[in-house]
């Protein structure tokens, strides 16, 4: 017996809804995983295809947001693993915390430069800490981050604390 006749349209509808809600976040996620523009486009397309295919079996066992972020991060991590031989060494949040950096306050006044700097920081992170930082920057709470990544709430809290500390170290603003 084949799938019900409306499966395709349901799948298309779920995909369209997900992209309407999370399209910009997926775009930011692809940027955070892949600095190279061509490879970033490939990754973004791969994420969209995986998402569309996954909705054929969406059963509501988790929220749409959790579903979308899990698919996107898992596809992106696959790319990191595939390319790890060519990539530079990645570090964890604890190592970033220990690194001393000079903060250019003039530079921080410019949003574009601040974003570039933030992206460069994210590109240094190992996949797990990168996922925590991205989900935090997307405004997700600790429980949602834990559900998507699969780590305990306590662990999320520790990592989010580190994320905030690292960001505070590097993005201090000069007051006028």
């Amino acid at each position: 017996m084949g799938p019900p006749p409306d499966t395709g349209s349901r799948q298309d509808g779920l995909y369209a809804g997900a992209v309407a809600m999370f399209g910009p976040a997926l775009h930011r996620l692809a940027r955070a995983y892949e600095p190279d523009a061509d490879r970033r486009l490939d990754l973004l397309q791969e994420i969209h295809v995986a998402l569309w295919r996954s909705f054929a079996s969406f059963n509501g066992s988790c929220s749409l947001r959790t579903w979308v972020y899990r698919v996107a991060h898992n596809v992106a991590v696959s790319q990191v693993i595939r390319r790890k031989g060519k990539a530079h060494a990645l570090v964890g949040l604890d190592e970033l915390e220990r690194m001393r950096v000079a903060v250019d306050h003039e530079q921080m006044l410019d949003d574009r430069r601040a974003l570039d700097r933030m992206m460069a920081l994210i590109h240094q992170l190992d996949p797990l800490d990168r996922q925590v930082m991205l989900l935090y920057l997307e405004g997700l709470d600790a429980a949602s981050i834990g559900e998507i990544i699969g780590i305990s709430a306590g662990n999320v809290a520790t990592k989010v604390h580190r994320v905030k500390k690292v960001l505070a170290q590097r993005f201090q603003r000069g007051t006028p």
Partner: protein, 193 residues
């Protein structure tokens, strides 16, 4: 005087990024279907390449089975065919990810990462059994066959055999090192559970 940024400032800054020139945020459904088909074709092409490599190995050693002068050399060529088929089969079996589209969503990011790393670790850790050992009988019998058939070239054959042995040991050691490195990554991931 300086102060740390407000959490919301950085989150707002992050979320305010424009889509830029690399594709926008929406991909049309017909393009998605097309890309999904291309993905399947890509997998099919990769499988075809593996089968062609196996076919070339079978053709070369198959021809040698008839062309080589001694029975021992012919047996060696036959064993090389078996070895090549075994390696391609194992490469195909171990290298193909059996992940279903829905599993990408039902598996947490940490678990997914761990499973992917474990697959890679096993591929490297077991390189001796699936990559090196299937090739050994054929290579060994061919070496002995040439050794007996060409006594005047024994010294060259000994050097060649030693080089091949060292090459295989090198592949084994490199794979074990890679497996150990991946295991350390897995251990770090497990610390977060």
């Amino acid at each position: 005087m300086t102060g740390p940024p407000d959490d919301c400032d950085l989150q707002a800054l992050w979320q305010s990024q424009p889509p830029g020139n690399d594709g926008g945020t929406v991909i049309a459904l017909n393009l998605i279907r097309q890309l999904a088909e291309e993905l399947e074709h890509r997998v099919a092409r990769r499988n075809r390449r593996e089968y062609i490599a196996a076919a070339i190995a079978v053709a070369v050693f198959g021809w040698q089975m008839f062309a080589l002068p001694s029975l021992l050399l012919r047996i060696g060529a036959g064993l090389c065919i078996v070895g090549a088929i075994a390696i391609v089969y194992m490469l195909h079996r171990l290298g193909t990810a059996p992940m279903l589209p829905s599993e990408l969503a039902l598996t947490s990011a940490l678990e997914f990462h761990r499973v992917q790393l474990e697959r890679q670790r096993d591929l490297h850790r077991n390189a001796l059994s699936w990559y090196l050992l299937p090739a050994v009988p054929g290579v060994l019998v061919l070496a002995v066959g040439h050794f007996l058939a060409q006594p005047e070239r024994r010294s060259q054959l000994i050097v060649l055999s030693v080089v091949m042995f060292l090459f295989m040991v090198g592949i084994y050691v490199l794979n074990r090192r890679k497996a150990a490195r991946i295991q350390r990554q897995i251990d770090r991931l497990k610390e977060n559970l």
